[in-house]
Subunit: 665 residues, 2 copies
């Protein structure tokens, strides 16, 4: 490629995906077709050939994938990523002489020009040139074509037919002259994860509340006993809040009381005690051996254990004595506790990432992740990553994934949008979102537009949580059971990754600590709870049904093609997702008002779904099992939240008619 040659005439720009001007990678999952779009054009009206160049990082050779013209000088091509890790890609294009000649020649013929012998000769000469570059077999073929075109016996119309044939085009394309090709000056990267980074269903649970009988501290063994229950609901990730020894100094009591009673267990996020720190297990939960057993047992149920990594220390953490240089010391000889002035968190010591010994600190923290990876964990939910340096995460994730490319990192950052985006760009596989607080149709529609339809989708994988141990929303507080059902359906169908904090969720626990608070009353964060998971009013069967629908419908397993549809009622939200080939179309309608029945007319996009406006089609409510025959774009919906606040329809594009009946044929 001689780009300095003045004859290199193609311009390539506006490549997508290109995250941060190409400084950071886009994301994909194994088996995905990475779609590349780009502006390509040259002066004049010559024809262009363009290809995507791609390779696994480390591979010496580029592979090639063809690009095709879309419209407005935009081209697209794609390549399949089949392995974990980084792939590189760029675009090459050139003015294609034979294609240009052929295009013009075709126009001449169509216009009935008679003096085309000279032009035929030009084409024949191009074929002769190509034969010099071709394989032996192709060279012979090309020579023969050239002779036919140049020799008198063949008639002009025979020659025209030959030279414009698809066969000649195909062979000439193989030997297209790339001497003056141009390559986009940047090699861009896409980071390839396993499928679960894109499609996952999370269940968060406090192990210490898992005991079967009240009053006892739950153990990993108790967690194992809970696995069938979680698997039946259809979750594939079981995420545990920190499982490390809990500090005693300044321990918080029930409901975050400043003073703890002697038997208060403390919060699992006050990490570290004399029993150990981030690589130790809280003794009451069991042993490391028990933990490994839980990880293995979970696998039998198709469940992966995800750990919560919170980089912070209780005053009793071993780091305090072993590495005083990792903390900020105040002039009075005490360690600086966490503060967000005027708020103080004296029971938490942040680590000082500005220490001169930052390299050792980084290495130690990396060793924490690696320690749990060695115990079989491959999924980490990272607590407040936005309060630790971005470059630390970028380094850590790259380091860990270099050795364990199947690792998944979920960023728990509820903060400013650009900070959340940056964490995703630098490597976090999934991200918490503002979904938790988006309740109205307007809010949901607006919020969902960015992560699913803009360039953000190329690096940001949202994970929707209707509740967390820290967030019991006012919507859930006031809406009761129908609100839990509605939020579950929204989370589970709007994005491909979602999770709930249970059993508080399926048991519709919704009493706040006080009016105006989003904290749970008697939160598990500060005490051990006993949950009656077999309560008759549990949502477990409903959740199981929704998760089964997710597993059976590929359009719910990615964030492509989310589409909101008009409904003439502000309390009803309607949207669909479909696979590229339309083989799976899911239509969801949710009544956002948990108190009253609402009805309205939805308006559906028949043409894009390839539905005949003149024929009925069937929608199958996968929640209730009911089937409806619909006709035309407008259809009536009525949802009583006390029965079920949502429909999840599969749209069946073809229904049987008399013509399908054997007798009819």
């Amino acid at each position: 490629m001689e780009q300095s040659d003045g004859r290199a005439r193609v311009i390539i720009s506006g490549v997508k995906p290109e995250v941060d001007s190409g400084l950071l990678p886009a994301k994909a999952v194994v088996g995905e077709k990475v779609e590349v779009e780009v502006d390509i054009f040259a002066d004049g009206h010559d024809a262009i050939t363009a290809i995507v160049l791609y390779r696994k990082e480390g591979d010496p050779e580029w592979s090639e994938a063809p690009m095709e013209f879309i419209t407005n000088d935009r081209w697209k091509g794609s390549f399949l990523v089949t392995e974990l890790g980084h792939y590189l890609y760029t675009v090459t294009a050139w003015v294609d002489r034979f294609k240009s000649w052929r295009k013009d020649f075709q126009k001449r013929v169509e216009a009935g020009q008679e003096d085309i012998n000279i032009n035929l000769l030009v084409g024949a000469n191009l074929i002769a040139e190509a034969s010099g570059q071709a394989s032996k077999a192709d060279s012979q073929t090309l020579q023969e074509w050239m002779k036919t075109l140049k020799s008198p016996p063949a008639s002009q119309s025979e020659k025209v037919k030959l030279v414009l044939s698809e066969e000649v085009a195909r062979v000439m394309q193989k030997y297209s002259d790339r001497r003056f090709s141009v390559t986009y000056p940047r090699e861009l990267a896409v980071s390839v994860d396993r499928t679960r980074a894109q499609f996952s269903t999370w269940y968060e649970m406090f192990p210490r509340s898992c005991a079967n009988e009240p009053g006892r501290h739950g153990t990993f063994k108790d967690c194992e006993a809970r696995l069938p229950y979680i698997a039946e609901m259809g979750f594939d990730i079981l995420y545990l809040p920190p499982i490390h020894p809990i500090g005693r100094t300044l321990r918080k009591g029930r409901n975050n009381a400043t003073e703890a009673a002697p038997d208060d267990p403390g919060t699992p996020r006050a990490i570290g005690a004399e029993e150990g720190g981030h690589k130790a297990i809280h003794p009451q939960l069991g042993t490391l051996e028990d933990f490994r057993h839980l990880v293995e047992k979970a696998k039998e149920y198709g469940i992966e254990i995800a750990l919560d990594i919170a980089i912070q220390c209780s005053p009793d953490h071993p780091y305090v004595k072993e590495h005083p240089e990792w903390f900020v010391w105040r002039p009075d000889g005490t360690i600086q506790y966490a503060e967000n002035p005027p708020k103080k968190y004296q029971d938490i010591y942040p680590l000082n990432f500005e220490t001169e010994h930052w390299r050792e600190l980084w290495e130690e923290l990396k060793s924490v992740f690696l320690f749990w990876i060695e115990q079989g964990v491959r999924i980490f939910r990272v607590d407040n990553p936005h309060t630790k340096p971005f470059r630390f995460w970028e380094w850590l994730i790259a380091e860990v994934k270099r050795e364990y490319p199947d690792t998944i990192f979920l960023a728990e950052a509820f903060t400013r949008p650009k900070v959340m985006h940056q964490l995703a760009k630098l490597g976090f596989s999934q991200s918490y979102t503002y979904f938790t607080w988006r309740n109205t149709k307007e809010e949901l529609t607006q919020y969902l537009t960015e992560p699913t339809q803009s360039d953000v989708r190329k690096f940001y994988r949202p994970n929707f949580w209707p509740n967390t141990p820290d967030i019991l929303t006012e919507y859930l507080q006031s809406g009761g059971r129908p609100a839990f059902m509605a939020r579950l359906v929204l989370a589970a169908t709007l994005t491909s990754n979602y999770g709930i904090y249970g059993p508080a969720f399926e048991l519709c626990v919704n009493t706040p600590r006080e009016h105006g608070s989003e904290e749970y009353l008697d939160s598990e964060k500060y005490e051990i709870q006993h949950w009656d998971i077999n309560r008759a009013d549990s949502l477990k069967d409903f959740i199981a049904r929704v998760n089964q629908i997710r597993r059976e419908n590929p359009s719910l397993q990615s964030n492509q093609n989310l589409w909101f549809h008009a409904v003439d009622n502000e309390e009803l939200i309607c949207y669909s997702k479909h696979t590229e080939d339309l083989s799976n179309i899911i239509l969801v309608v949710v009544n956002l008002n948990p108190h009253y029945t609402h009805s309205g007319w939805v308006h559906l996009p028949l043409e894009p779904w390839d539905l005949d406006a003149e024929r009925p089609y069937q929608v199958h409510d996968l929640l209730s099992g009911a089937r409806y025959l619909w006709h035309g774009a407008g259809n009536y919906i009525e949802l009583d939240p006390k029965v079920c606040p949502a429909h999840i329809f599969r749209v069946n594009r073809r229904i049987r008619r008399e013509q399908d009946f054997d007798y009819y044929m």
Copy 2:
């Protein structure tokens, strides 16, 4: 700057302007404030200091300009460009320890925290550290402050007052610790032109039609005689179609007839004859000396001569004999003429930019530009640049501007949007647009949104032409004089660069060659015309008025702040432009229907214009001289196209009232 240091915590991204991921420069003019916007943030909630680094290309040292926080992690700063050529810029930012400490300390004080002595001590220590870096005088000041903060005599409240003083903040800012600063990894460029690249008023004229008496071939002397007329109308660029010898072989006759009559002068775009090529002058126009005289004479009227460079040859061009290697030869030994199959242009030979001798060809073409530059020309209108390689133009413009940075290039490319954008990105100073064909309110509003409000504005300077020798639009054909007036006002006020092809324009010439054609009947392209420029119905006074308004109102001299306002009549378009400081607000209303009077209510943005909704304000129609007292956002407009199809109001924010009368005070 140690960016590899893990303590460098700031993230910088999303810099604007950044054209094509930083691969190409943005544009500005001398005296302009280049505004830089960027996302800057760090982990946690520490305070950040950010600066723009900028320098003239070639200068070894960066200058610094402060940045300020806007919102949503977005920062902005600006720097003044005072010289022609390229400037480079980038952004540096760091976590500012004293600013962070001060922000937190302020919160503590505001919250009434009592145990702040430790925090005071931390602040004092930061001041002590800074004194080690400071100038002698500052160092002493810092030491004194430090002592006051640490010593018992001063009360706590005195200490608080001192440490939070603006003076301490100012000095500490000077010595802010930049050890862990981060610099955006790309140096971006802005290409700085002279003001006329941004604000210019073009008049296109065929010199051969300038003779005072019918039947005579016009000369450069005749052009000189026309200068006062052009200057009175307020144009500052006189642009001449090609002035070179015209080919005789296959010369086109009147109205583009295939056969020319013996006395037909041919089209000036069939460049080259035995008298010479692109560096020669058509003998009937005069001598090179005459041309130079015209250039000088024009300057006296504040007018610059712009030449038309069309890179193409008549079959008689000297290049054909001297450089046969610069053309495409067909197998029958003839030169390939211009074609766009099935259309043929046998009288035009394109140059072959794919010749092996492309370097010589490039150099020769550069020498054409330099030749005319040496005759005093600094403005070129380039004919069909999109049919010659982009890299050629990028090189040529860079080469020419390296030596003559005051050169202006106007790209005459009516082609696909991305091709037009690319020509602007690679260096063309101004660009033709689709304005010529945008007539309705919807079309104009939509079309104007991109070049004036999006990132395109950073590199693309539109030049609006209501007519050209090639384009007599159907709107002008059918709308007559009011249509010419409306289109003039639109072109002259929607963008800061515009031009007309005269005298056909001011004389409202609007007969097409045939129905459905956009060609002029008896076009000057193929024959000599005689224009009666003193006709009573000429628009020359109206044009003079409009151009005077442009000169007197700075808001019309840039493309910033164009804003469309609602009118409840689709035939009326209403928009405004204002200077940043609101000292100049121009409001334009145009009746787009050249046949009927239309009226409606316009709705104006009082608050953004800092107008009191409760008080009247005055609008002064600069076209008619009339003044109106308006009140509130909604105001009535009525425009009779036969009188004048437009208002160009200056909005006077302050009108005199009784309080302004001396007696009242």
